[in-house]
């Protein structure tokens, strides 16, 4: 399908006897941004297994730019992972590398840019994310917001078309990451860049999301546009939005 960067087709994903994702389908157009949310255990982390990690033990198919990633070989899977930017909640910055080295790592490894070009490109990212004061520091010396910014810088260093952010903004002060949000907002407005935001706090991403998808028990229970998030009377969404234990979701 033209114009679609990511498509999940009837995904059913089981581990042992437990069904983690049950007939899940959605697609993401190029330039669109989707926020996926739901309570714990609703299948959000299983999406990571099949979209990002490359686990092929599922029914259905995942298409990236129209090509299935299910049957990718070792090297093709490496290239696919290289093409997608990813940040997780633990950030995973290399503890023995400085902020600057962490951001330039994917470029040093993959890119055909010269060392001076990489330095200049990374310098611009560091400037945009307001990390100049800590470019030589290692993760151990950074605050949580600086770690997130460095991880974000690393994820966008090679300018991926798809950025997948998983619970990375949880436990962050949004005032401290304003420069990051500005860069993310600017990126989300570009017609060639797409974003998948996995979060427990979808209301924080109203401004940058085009679409919202809610999961519960491995199934999609709500899909809607930006405006629908506040106005829809979907009982699952209402229960989630109002943070109530009363509703169709039984929360233990």
């Amino acid at each position: 399908m033209d114009g679609v960067i990511l498509e999940l087709q009837n995904i059913t994903y089981r581990r042992d006897t437990v069904t983690l994702l049950d007939n899940v389908s959605f697609s993401l157009a190029k330039g669109d941004n989707v926020t996926i949310f739901g309570p714990e255990g609703s299948g959000l982390s299983s999406l990571f297994d099949i979209i990002i990690r490359g686990d092929a033990n599922f029914e259905g198919d995942v298409l990236y730019n129209g090509s299935s990633i299910k049957s990718l070989g070792y090297f093709e899977l490496m290239n696919y992972k290289k093409a997608v930017g990813y940040i997780h909640g633990d950030y995973g910055l290399m503890s023995n590398l400085s902020v600057e080295q962490n951001i330039s790592l994917p470029l040093d490894y993959h890119s055909s840019m010269s060392a001076s070009e990489i330095k200049k490109h990374v310098g611009q990212i560091i400037y945009d994310l307001n990390l100049d004061h800590c470019r030589k520091l290692r993760p151990f010396d950074l605050t949580r917001s600086e770690i997130l910014k460095a991880a974000f810088g690393r994820a966008i260093a090679h300018d991926p078309d798809l950025l997948y952010i998983e619970h990375a903004f949880e436990d962050q002060c949004f005032l401290n990451i304003k420069s990051l949000i500005d860069v993310l907002t600017e990126r989300s407005n570009r017609p060639d860049k797409s974003l998948v935001m996995i979060t427990y706090y979808p209301q924080n991403f109203i401004d940058i999301s085009d679409e919202f998808i809610m999961f519960f028990n491995g199934r999609i229970v709500f899909t809607g546009k930006k405006g629908d998030f506040w106005t829809s009377d979907n009982p699952y969404l209402v229960q989630y939005r109002t943070n109530s234990i009363e509703g169709p979701m039984i929360i233990l």
Partner: protein, 263 residues
């Protein structure tokens, strides 16, 4: 009682077999990764090789030299005082080459490297895995076998070769100087005896042992470093890494010596 012994032995045997299969899968995966070596940009692992060589080789110099001096002195004193009793003092050079250059140098160096760098490699990788740094690398499309294991193997081969050569030189020269406090033997005689005793085989076996230790030590330590799935498993696997690398290194040493001098 007998049934219990058989069951326990059988279970251990199966575990060892499973472990060997798992390790061989790990080695196979490294060979698979080597196929993507042509895509690897050397600049990304250059710093790791330099840092690892500095830690394994340069930083270990002092302790290697001290141990070489002490062991060299002990062997030379024993040789100089005991050989004349059996009337074979003419074989002094041969005995020293056999004990120090062929066996003690490579093995003692390997043991020092295992204790210092092997444990450090296993711990570093285990902590990187626990803090999801390795996952991050994989998700950036970085082949962790190439990025983590390969530079450490290169650095270990270089470091161990350098350390063995330095160990042998210090053990001979330092040991000679220490032995002068106990017995007198002219420097030129001592030197000539050593030079006459060295053969091409000795040099080749030193290089081959350096290579084998340089491959096996980081390989086994990386394997165990990548094993822990939780924080509490880290010390368990680091301990396993050190003990098993130690055991394998002694076997490698015997195997290489047999290959060069017995076959």
């Amino acid at each position: 009682m007998i049934e219990q012994i058989i069951t326990t032995t059988g279970r251990k045997g199966i575990n060892i077999y499973k472990g060997m299969i798992d390790f061989s899968d790990f080695v196979k995966s490294i060979f698979t990764s080597f196929k993507s070596l042509r895509y690897l940009r050397f600049r990304s692992i250059y710093t790791i090789i330099i840092n690892q060589t500095r830690f394994t080789g340069v930083d270990a110099l002092a302790i290697v030299m001290i141990i070489a001096l002490l062991l060299g002195g002990t062997v030379i004193i024993q040789a100089l005082t005991s050989l004349p009793k059996f009337g074979v003092e003419g074989f002094l050079g041969n005995i020293l080459v056999i004990i120090i250059a062929r066996e003690l140098g490579p093995l003692a160096t390997a043991l020092i490297v295992i204790a210092r760098s092997g444990s450090a490699i296993a711990t570093e990788i285990a902590v990187q895995k626990w803090s999801r740094e390795i996952l991050s690398m994989e998700l950036m499309g970085i082949d962790t076998k190439l990025y983590i294991v390969f530079p450490r193997i290169v650095a270990s081969i270089l470091s161990i070769l350098g350390l063995i050569l330095i160990f042998d030189i210090v053990a001979f020269i330092g040991g000679y100087l220490i032995s002068q406090t106990v017995v007198y033997i002219p420097m030129d005689v001592f030197g000539q005896t050593l030079i006459d005793s060295f053969t091409f085989k000795d040099i080749a076996s030193t290089f081959f042992k350096s290579f084998m230790f340089g491959v096996t030590i980081p390989l086994i330590c990386c394997y165990y470093g990548l094993k822990p799935n939780s924080k509490f498993e880290i010390p368990i696997y680091v301990s396993k890494a050190v003990i098993r690398t130690l055991f394998i290194s002694i076997i490698v040493n015997i195997a290489v010596s047999t290959l060069f001098y017995l076959v």
